[in-house]
């Protein structure tokens, strides 16, 4: 059977350019051509899975978990701190284009709740103060 690698190809496309953390339509068409599937199917996939975005995003993607274990440990206050620090709502990108704030389903970091992920790195036992420091460190390193 011919292997269909739409999802892996979309991951790679989205990861290739650091300045483009989303899927441009021309690139989705490339994936469709390479995988031999209709462009509509690729678009359908890209809009189904939360890790893909068809709209421009910031350089770094923040995935904050608000599911039960994190919620019980005060995830709401972490979300508020992030919103305040970045000046955005969930789904928004900070003005400097550094961060996009997304809400994620359970990240499996329940023993270290409240938790979040920024790009590939996980962060646990968050406090409203500690998230500010984490963002500053990433901003400096960028």
């Amino acid at each position: 059977m011919k292997k269909n690698t739409v999802i892996e190809d979309l991951h790679r496309t989205q990861e290739t350019e650091k300045s483009k953390t989303y899927l441009e339509s021309v690139k989705m068409q490339d994936v469709a051509r390479e995988c031999g599937v209709p462009a509509a199917q690729v678009y359908g996939v890209a809009t189904f899975y939360t890790m893909f975005s068809t709209k421009p995003r910031g350089k770094h993607i923040i995935r904050i978990c608000c599911n039960l274990a994190c919620h019980l440990e005060g995830a709401d206050s972490i979300v508020d701190a992030l919103k305040g620090k970045l000046g955005v709502e969930i789904g928004g990108t900070s003005k400097d284009g550094e961060f996009t704030l997304e809400q994620s389903s359970c990240l499996g970091l329940c023993a270290e709740a409240p938790a979040m992920m920024i790009d590939g790195q996980t962060y646990g036992s968050l406090t409203p103060e500690s998230v500010g420091k984490i963002l500053d460190t990433i901003r400096k390193g960028a």
């Binding site: 893909f52 599911n67 499996g108 968050l126």
Partner: protein
Amino acid sequence: MPTSKSHTDKKNIPCGQNRLVLGNVGVINPESIDEYIAAKGYDALKKALSAMKPAQVIAEVKTSELRGRGGAGFPTAIKWAGAANEKSDVKYVICNADEGEPGTFKDRAIMEGDPHKLIEGMALAGYATGASKGYIYVRGEYTLSIARLAKAAADARAKGFLGENIQGSGFNFDLEVLRGAGAYICGEESALIESIEGKRGEPRLKPPYPVQKGLWQKPTVVNNVETLANIPAIVLNGGEWYRAIGVEGSRGTKVFCLMGDLNWKGVVEIPFGAPLSKIIKEMGGGVKKDRKLKGVILGGVSGSLLTARELDTPVDFKSLALIESGPGSGAIIALDETRSIVDVVDNIAHFFMHESCGRCTPCRAGNEQIVHLIGKIRKGDGSHADLKKLEELGWNMYQTSFCPLGQTAPNILLQSLKKYRGEWEACLAGKKEKCACCAC
């Protein structure tokens, strides 16, 4: 703070466990195949390839009475025999590592802490069922699991435990580690298969079941990470040995994830049959701040809600079924006396509204209506008629949703309306002392 590299801290692990699956976790270096081999790793695969026929492997698993650890508890040997009996040029083994049930991180502990055990279990499943190709479908957010599995697979290939003619036996089996991209529904096996095929993760109509027509319409075994991680020990020590652990109907051990209002949080592994109260006390170190326990969510947010009075029930499939519960994924979320049940249910409702794949109406529209009604009640605009509506809606979704996501989404809601009715009514009446939740 960045989290510790993996869930493998040796210190503070509660004692009194029986770590069959987690035995190497926190003990060996998960990135070293030599350390795994030194800990009897790949001995089961060598034993099976040199001294057992595929049917004998299935027979041992049957004797062990191993049941799936993903939540549904289906007997593993029946699934394997089903795939083995199918006549097909190609068969597949898929490991469902799309761990997304809120409150569940046991598979992550296995993949990060002992990835070779899963790979050995996969190869044994391939040998038993006649499959020569495997896929481990890991949720995209588990970056460390993905990296460790990919390295482990490459190392296993280099040492001749994967690939062609494994250990000179003539048996060929190789596997690939695939990434998900963020969709809870892909934990449902047929949605997972759709996702591997490069499509939206929408479940398929069953039958045909995956063992008949699965990946690319070929016979496919889909097993959870923990299920497969049990296989090497069963093959090495025999099904009888395994069967001696646990209780009737629920043999072996189960990995539980402890969290919420407990003094200790993390993964533990104990034989089936211990009462929840004992697990909470002895493994979880009791309730934080010496508070009383209000209830426990068992098996994740699609699982069940148990009151403090029900906690002496032994955790096994049979005993829990009597109180309309089950071990599910093994998540144990403790709620202390200060927690609002309405708030907890509201959080769960939002999760399901977000994660419904949208394919069938009861789930797509039902979850949205649940969120709407709970919001109305919490705002102080609710009435008894709304509680009735929630009950009807939940029951409707349970009966008519296309797949287990929509069928189980209202579980905790419905149980809370039965077991914690007072809290919902207090919320309606706006009594603050009974309802720590909200604006009421």
